[in-house]
Symmetry: C2
Subunit: 320 residues, 2 copies
């Protein structure tokens, strides 16, 4: 929860004047969000989200992200679309940083996702994957094998400060996944971070997908594996097979999943668990004094990784 960048009065006026969105009536920093600064920008025409991209986002990637939002939203995916300025541009600067204005989506993210939510997410993910097929731009997944290697090295020396034996377990898992990571699965644009706080609902109907700033070109089934981890475990880290069945079957009703993808799911889920274990562990070990964001518990993803390692096949996910 963070507002990293404050906006001066004149600066805001000059910035908004470059758009055809009316006169500003309000600006409130939004507490949710870790990577960027988000403001709810209200004008006499409606509500918008003003995002200021902070150092964790590479400005070179912004055209990929913003272009993707427009691509998906024109194809009916319930994601924000960017507001283009009078000069036609969606990306400009405020307070010396890259910034963009997007449409505001109604809905609330679910604090306790239910099986109904999981079904909605599965279907929306599949529709996003289909809508992304003809997106012409690509972006490598910076948090796949190569990125993990960097994080394994960066956390190795102190991983055992968090839990005894953690460093060795991560090293073993990384080695195994590097050797067995599937290379021939269907690839496309994936969200890569579709956690519950990035999905809005109203009355149990999905109304929005947000926060595409990890989106990249990778195996579609890997996105599904990320969602299995993010949506189908209870707080006690127990796997909920009912939720997984709903998520997977709703996905498959929209986009048929190949046998190769299904067979790879447990491995992809281990990889997804390792990815979030590593980034959380890194943030945990590198906490900044006075930081405004509490790091998330890395151990949650260690438990998930172990779960997927123990099962004997994708049938454990309740596949029908």
């Amino acid at each position: 929860m963070a507002v990293y960048t404050e906006i001066g009065d004149d600066e805001l006026r000059d910035f908004v004047a470059q758009y055809d969105i009316g006169a500003v009536t309000g600006l409130k920093g939004i507490a949710e969000g870790v990577e960027n600064t988000n403001y709810l920008l209200q004008t006499d025409r409606g509500s918008y989200i003003l995002t200021i991209y902070e150092k964790r986002v590479d400005p070179k990637d912004l055209p990929f992200f913003l272009g993707l939002l427009d691509h998906l939203s024109t194809r009916g995916v319930p994601c924000p679309s960017t507001i283009h300025g009078r000069d036609g541009k969606a990306l400009r600067q405020i307070a010396g940083k890259p910034a963009a204005v997007q449409t505001f989506l109604q809905g609330i993210w679910p604090k306790r996702p239910t099986a109904v939510h999981c079904g909605e997410v599965g279907a929306a993910l599949a529709r996003m994957h289909l809508a992304g097929r003809d997106y012409p731009n690509t972006r490598p997944n910076a948090l796949s094998i190569d990125g993990w290697a960097v994080l394994v090295d960066a956390t190795a020396a102190r991983a055992d400060h968090v839990a005894a034996g953690l460093g060795a377990e991560i090293a073993r898992e990384f080695e195994y996944l590097s050797e067995h990571w599937p290379a021939d699965l269907p690839v496309g644009v994936i969200h890569a971070d579709l956690f519950p706080d990035n999905v809005f609902f109203m009355d149990d109907k999905l109304t929005g997908l947000i926060d595409f700033y990890f989106a990249c070109t990778d195996a579609l089934a890997y996105d599904l594996a990320i969602c299995l981890n993010a949506w189908c475990f209870e707080r006690s880290t127990e796997f909920n097979i009912t939720k997984a069945r709903r998520l997977l079957s709703a996905y498959r009703q929209v986009r048929p999943v190949g046998d190769d993808e299904l067979a790879a799911l447990p491995l992809l889920a281990r990889g997804s668990a390792l990815r979030f274990l590593l980034t959380r562990l890194y943030d945990w070990l590198n906490q900044v004094d006075g930081a405004m964001v509490k790091p998330k518990d890395p151990m949650e993803y260690l438990h998930k990784m172990r779960f997927h390692r123990r099962i004997d096949g994708p049938g454990a996910y309740g596949l029908e």
Copy 2:
């Protein structure tokens, strides 16, 4: 900037159902605000602020604060009014904590207040003081002399960690103010925390006063002294006499200020500076690991206190 309390999905539904404000379409944590958790609550009828009162607010004081908002807003003061539930009550509980829903005010707080803003604030403060005259409830100022004594004791041992000699300077100032604090000035409801981030503007016109959670019964001129400190110094801690003149003269056009009040202003301003120096110093010395709010610099108020001690009378404020 903080959201201390998360709200469950069912909990939100049950809470909102107790009001006649329509169906929820959005809920976003607001980054601004230090004491309480504030959500922007959107329904199909409009926007509201849902405030959850955290431990720094004494629940016994809430009827005073919420009643004051209704009292002032029905008298035309541009402050939030409370939304009463179907049971007639404005105060209820959510997530086990006291909570209230208030109207949403348009406008933006000024990051760099101008002399025009200072004039608007002076006039609005005076109107608030007049409107509060017949508010039947009272609340002692917990952060006047008695409260300062507690903070002087609590910070004495470590004040010099922040600046050499600070402890002795605070002790001397506290002793002087205790002996000379005026007792016979006109008293009424004061805001007691009217900093720029608690005042909204649109197009240089004041649209809202918020955050009445330090409001209390005290000398009206003390509120003016707080505003002099909060609005009339440049970032370099230089006093801006033009801003002070605008603030004071705009105030006096709405509510005549007695000679006794004017004469007391420098002393009241010293007291106000000591009050914010002490609370900031206390927070500075008692930083919590992992806190989501950065403590404010106490030294800013030391400089302000010294300024008011040096001047030879209220003429230094540009009084006309």
